[in-house]
Symmetry: C2
Subunit: 339 residues, 2 copies
């Protein structure tokens, strides 16, 4: 989407359709074609063929419903992760919101850089800096307080480029795929490097995935009595990082069954796809390949956020599906959907 502001026809399309769309329109119209936002290319055909294969009773590849586990990465697979990940945008906004309580942040890095809007310095600090910002903004409150903060933010914060609510920056074809799988007896899970409790407050409404089907990174929490009642306090300490090698570990921990289908978009998803592929029955492994600089962003091997390098090579070698966003998707975001 680097040419976003230069692309007038696209803007016009967005403006013209604006009054016709709303958040609820992200549900798929499944009356006729369950995947109406997918072009009739090999990606769509492979998905439909796989679902038919494993749901055909009496067929040799039949899989009973309780074993139809489908796992999806979130950032870059179900919603946009550019220019920065949504949870990182949340952390930056929280630093600004908490500034009055932390006058020292005006002079203290990395908070100073956040308050000055100096994203370059922050990103240059790498993982340590990001962790510092996450801990300062995601901990020190109860789980209920954090849920409230996330819910309020996600209900109003807007994407820096499109000015859309972040919950409108989801991929319409993937939302349709989730619904299609559920209508075929699959249980759909998110398996994300993002924080479990950052996702749980809104994923049910947006993706139809209930909180108990969210696997993600998490911090430690502590049970304690406060004001006569029990609370769970969020501590500034990582407990589990659900990325790369952590994804199969998280899947095993939370689900306890090997997925039948897995979708990711980056090298952080490679082990989840390998783990899925190593199952004995028929399995489906897919990658979302960001190839559409006009309607979204085009990136793969050369970026740090969402790098798709080893996983792309392995997908090509092993014949996993690589969804080409530009060619395979009629629309990307729900607000681009034709009514």
């Amino acid at each position: 989407m680097k040419h976003f502001t230069k692309n007038m026809p696209f803007f016009l399309f967005v403006i013209l359709t604006f009054s016709l769309v709303c958040t609820s329109s992200i549900r798929a119209d499944t009356q006729t074609d369950p995947l109406p936002s997918w072009n009739e290319s090999s990606s769509k055909q492979s998905i439909v063929r796989f679902v038919d294969l494993v749901t055909k009773e009496g067929g040799k590849n039949y899989v009973p419903p309780e074993k139809r586990i489908a796992v999806f990465d979130n950032d870059g697979t179900l919603w946009a992760e550019k220019p920065i990940s949504v949870q990182f945008a949340f952390a930056l906004d929280r630093v600004k919101a908490l500034e009055p309580e932390h006058p020292e942040w005006k002079e203290e890095q990395p908070f100073k850089a956040v308050l000055e809007g100096d994203l370059k310095s922050i990103l240059a600090g790498g993982g340590h800096t990001i962790l510092q910002l996450v801990m300062a903004t995601h901990t020190g409150m109860t789980i209920d307080e954090f849920e409230q903060i996330v819910s309020e933010w996600i209900g109003s914060a807007r994407h820096p480029v499109t000015k859309r609510l972040y919950t409108e920056m989801v991929y319409q074809p993937m939302v349709e795929l989730l619904a299609y799988l559920r209508s075929n007896g699959f249980k759909t899970y998110i398996v994300s490097g993002g924080g479990i409790e950052f996702m749980r407050p809104w994923v049910e409404k947006v993706y139809g995935i209930p909180p108990e089907q969210v696997v993600g990174s998490c911090i430690k929490v502590k049970y304690e009595m406060r004001g006569g009642g029990p609370v769970l306090m969020r501590l500034p300490e990582m407990d589990f990082i659900d990325d790369k090698d952590g994804k199969p570990v998280g899947i095993n921990r939370f689900i306890g069954r090997r997925p039948l289908l897995a979708f990711g978009n980056s090298d952080g998803d490679l082990q989840m796809l390998q783990w899925t592929a190593a199952g004995s029955d028929s399995r489906y492994m897919g990658l979302v390949h960001h190839t559409d600089a006009e309607r979204e962003w085009a990136y793969d091997r050369d970026v740090s956020l969402g790098r798709l390098d080893k996983a792309l090579t392995e997908a090509e070698e092993k014949g996993w599906t690589v969804v080409n966003m530009k060619k395979d998707w009629k629309v990307i975001f729900p607000f681009q959907k034709k009514q």
Copy 2:
């Protein structure tokens, strides 16, 4: 059950009904009364009243199905935990099975005591000794290998007193309660101090609870390549202890919703019950009180395994249901069920 061997009428009953029962009979007969193994006492009435209350559409206490989360402790709540917990019995059997590979165990404690059947010395060693035995017997293999070991053991190992399969040592009234709740739209979970991967291979068949609805203690696992394919190796390091304060933490981590109903039987379940009770809507908190020395065991405040002391006091103070096994249950184990 300390008088088990002296109780001839009970033995006679067991023998007479033996040919009529099988494992599949543990499913509740819900055609008429969904809780046929419960006496018509206040415990049963309170359960039915609560379920009616939260499922009555349009009622002020109505709770939508997706929020009907019911959590159950396992040892002593869903199945017998005397004379020793089943998972501990498994660990002891595994030491014996692994002896040929560990000639050094003949002289090394606590393995020597296990091989000599000296339970008293093992228990005197406390938590450290038990952890040592668990690590030696539960780790060092892949998760698939461990599942296989557990499945084979649970399919053949027998209770030291009743000589029944352990999966027959489940509480018939609780199995009926689980089915009754599910038929009323509840999602039933196990939240146990026991190991997740010790329970997952068999709980679906025995309790109707799928693997992904098991919360429990767990060790660390590591993703690695072995023979060209990925495996998850079980490491000798605890990752999470799902007991006492850990139970609300585990519930929050795995489920992400506060339970509507919780059942336990010991002080290890107190925090889970407190956490459930602190919810804003109607909630149901129950304790199984082991009061039947004839048909099961009678114990509460004075034991170490399954001690029910603080939780019993708090239940009485707060009006939580305390199920009196002797008075409230017509039968305890499925093999005592009248056909």
